[in-house]
Symmetry: C2
Subunit: 248 residues, 2 copies
Amino acid sequence: MTRYKLTIAYDGAKFHGFQSQPNLRTVQGVIEKALSKMTKGKEIILVGSGRTDAGVHAYGQVIHFDYPGYIPAENMLKAINSLMPLDIVVKDSQIVDEDFHARYGVKRKTYLYRVDCGHYTDPFKRFYAGHYSYSYDLEKIQTALKDLIGEHDFSSFAASGGVIENKVRTIYEAQVKYLPDENELVFEFTGNGFLYNMVRILVATVLEIGSGRRPVHDFIRLFEVKDRQEARGTAPANGLYLKKVFYD
Amino acid sequence: MTRYKLTIAYDGAKFHGFQSQPNLRTVQGVIEKALSKMTKGKEIILVGSGRTDAGVHAYGQVIHFDYPGYIPAENMLKAINSLMPLDIVVKDSQIVDEDFHARYGVKRKTYLYRVDCGHYTDPFKRFYAGHYSYSYDLEKIQTALKDLIGEHDFSSFAASGGVIENKVRTIYEAQVKYLPDENELVFEFTGNGFLYNMVRILVATVLEIGSGRRPVHDFIRLFEVKDRQEARGTAPANGLYLKKVFYD
């Protein structure tokens, strides 16, 4: 058995998320099916760094699996890519020790969130960005994002349905830049872990801060109240990108 | 009757081109159907500045039509947009004189062509750019594009099947820029008219010049030979964008 670590990108628009589901097209399902062709039917189970929801994209999702036999890493990349549909690509392939684990070994993750600020919904961004046509104060957004840095209890920012008890996470970076040519806000968050829907709820909340509907330092209050009802909105899945996963 | 001039954008990936065809989803068909809802079934025929093929996009296609009655231009824009799918948007609406004609009145058109130069096919660009992974010399491409400026016989660059006899066109601008963040070449052509597939054939040819498979000034020879077999390639439809249409 040889353990492979792959870095993959996918356009999430036409997938029912990362994780395998019966009779639905998922990223995991498509790759596992390709691997089973390579092993002539022997089932291989992928492990991803984490799930992504339907419509969520990835520039740098990381997966691992154990392959029965040895293929050079570069050949594994080419073999899988030759079996991939056009909305998934393997960008990097490495052979790793068997103590590498794509999920348990994660140290940090970086997510992007794109917000189209145009008056109308841009036909080219309908699958690739959220849309926010209200006016906003960029400085307020930038000030608010600084409150996220550090270790906080993100209970107010976790979608119900999660099973994780401990909702304390550390955020290392929370930034936004405005791209004038695209008329887009691009958020970037790096942390040691993210709760279910957390990035999307953070984006929805900080946009409300930007438009003046919440006080600038509302994140601090929300950390204290630990109440999902207080943060309310969730930005749509199609603006979210898993950019990078970090390991030791 | 009131004549409206609309500027529209569309993502061409899911359309069988601009022009109406029975039982196929086309841009013209979708908009005409929306207009017939507004007129309670009375048929309205659109005139576009020209056709775009299946998969070709538009940032600024121009259309006109005559509406039985009067609606302020801004309200027409909102009414149509409320009936549009997410891959078409009306960006501008004007009431024009009845001597305005979206096709016969065209003075210039600008097309973009995006070429992804990455090693692998980017999942996010599969519908939105051509792909060229050979090495190329940007200066050679820039030098070659200068040969296009002016009035030339583009017979070598017209797909067979066109019915137009006169293949002389004037090119005012032919440029390329390299976007390092995207690893993309973006071509831009402005001319008084373009033959069927002409931009796509020009791009395929200039990329062959860039990679050294043709001499730098091969365009000059191709103008003279007037032979479509000599230009050969056609870049794929999905990289092409009708950017702007100019009228007097």
